[in-house]
Symmetry: C2
Subunit: 242 residues, 2 copies
DNA sequence: TGATTATTGTCACAAATTGATACAATAATC
DNA sequence: GATTATTGTATCAATTTGTGACAATAATCA
């Protein structure tokens, strides 16, 4: 959220963290042919926000990102990448954070560090939906998946951040072969094609898609997956880098 | 430089700027078939560094980048884009900045804001070599072009930053059609091909290159350029968006 | 048990793109 | 006016992509 991300332990003065700098996360998952992202909600407010965090003074920026991601999802070794820095002054609006804190019984003074202007580094993560265990942060009361296709209103400029993350995901999809990070360990070609179609928001030709994916040489063909219906059983595949 | 970028007016305490955050610039130019970048050098030291700057509290991040770029090059309306945020703790080394300040007759105390850890947002810019008027910043004594192919040693992690910028330029080159920003207003097809070959560091086939560029529909053909030698004169082209 | 059904893997061919070469056109030089 | 080097474009091969077709085959159902 960058204007008001929440450290795991709420520091009264922000000591120990780099001032004015936050990390906002767009954490993508894929389930039932839908792209999902993780959002936090806050008790007694109707605010939804991206997971966010701060950087410890002793910490590398990218390590801070991995730490916060693990705190929200329980997952390590996840595909995680910077995509943009959000630094407009218009992002700064202390009202939502004040509302969140007050709903928690905290009455911040005017200059509370969480109410100041933040520049936010946007990261997007791709995770296996089935493996994540979403955990709220100290100020939020839930951390849940939401359909990207029907997103509710978000705090501050978080809608913009999601949009930019999605654009980056689309352009990175082929170049970096990262879609596999959104699927479970094994998957069918139809699963993979559906994922691509959902991300790119356009239909792809089945035959050409299969040919292209197989030609990449990054798929290991496993046993067939039976019991999928009254038809020929598809092979399962596993992603193998070189 | 991010660890030690220099504001136009050297503030004694960094007041008015966002703390701990800097902008580093990789400013590309192209001249005599060579890619160049702008580097600052410091009196009485043998240090070379990327141009850098800070963000005013009243300023948008991207506006700060445009402002600093204009301060170093005299140019506005320049292609300028974020490419990465450098936030490793290992970047932090107060020694070079202390040396620079001492060479200027300033003796900073141990906690001087310019000596603290900075996270740095990397921007790369593409400019017309012939139009830039490189201007040193208040702490440096020169701002000059250097051949990218034979770069001297740079301060801190600036070599890494340049490398990452170059990689981004390479992957963006075709996708965003940005090479033209490095050429003067009119150019021949050979000029353009040489630019592409230099950036990508690989030879391209003349015929195919011409066909591809013309098929993009973004080049306006102008008069021929005579007096180029004992051979057929090439057309001049101008870049026209849509 | 054998026909039915829906989906899969792969082939086949057309269309489009790219790679590589050839060649005529033509400014400047001699 | 011949020579030279480079340019613009045509040509054909090689490769990649678009599109449809078809046999194979699990599960279902008569």
């Amino acid at each position: 959220m960058s204007n008001q991300p929440i450290p795991e332990e709420i520091s009264p003065d922000g000591a120990g963290f780099l001032p004015g700098l936050a990390i906002d996360f767009v954490i993508f998952g894929f389930h039932q042919n839908q792209l999902k992202i993780l959002l936090l909600s806050y008790r007694n407010t109707d605010l939804l926000a991206l997971p966010a965090g701060f950087i410890q003074e002793t910490e590398n920026l990218n390590d801070a990102a991995r730490r916060v991601l693990a705190e929200r999802t329980g997952l390590y070794d996840i595909f995680l990448e910077q995509f943009y820095v959000f630094g407009d002054r218009s992002r700064h609006d202390p009202a939502p954070m004040r509302a969140i804190m007050e709903a928690k019984g905290i009455v911040p003074d005017e200059n509370h560090w969480l109410l100041r202007r933040f520049v936010s580094v946007g990261y997007y993560a791709l995770i296996d939906f089935t493996k994540a265990v979403p955990i709220p942060d100290p100020l939020s009361d839930s951390c849940e998946w939401y359909d990207l296709a029907s997103l509710p209103a978000l705090m501050l400029d978080h809608q913009t951040i999601v949009q930019k993350a999605l654009e980056t995901l689309r352009t990175d999809l082929d170049r970096k072969l990262i879609g596999f990070n959104l699927l479970s360990d094994t998957f069918t070609m139809a699963d993979l094609q559906c994922l691509y179609e959902t991300i790119l928001d356009q239909p792809l030709h089945r035959s050409g898609f299969q040919r292209k994916m197989l030609s990449l040489g990054i798929l290991e063909r496993l046993d067939k997956k039976f019991s999928g219906g009254a038809h020929k059983a598809p092979y399962l595949y596993r992603f193998v880098s070189n």
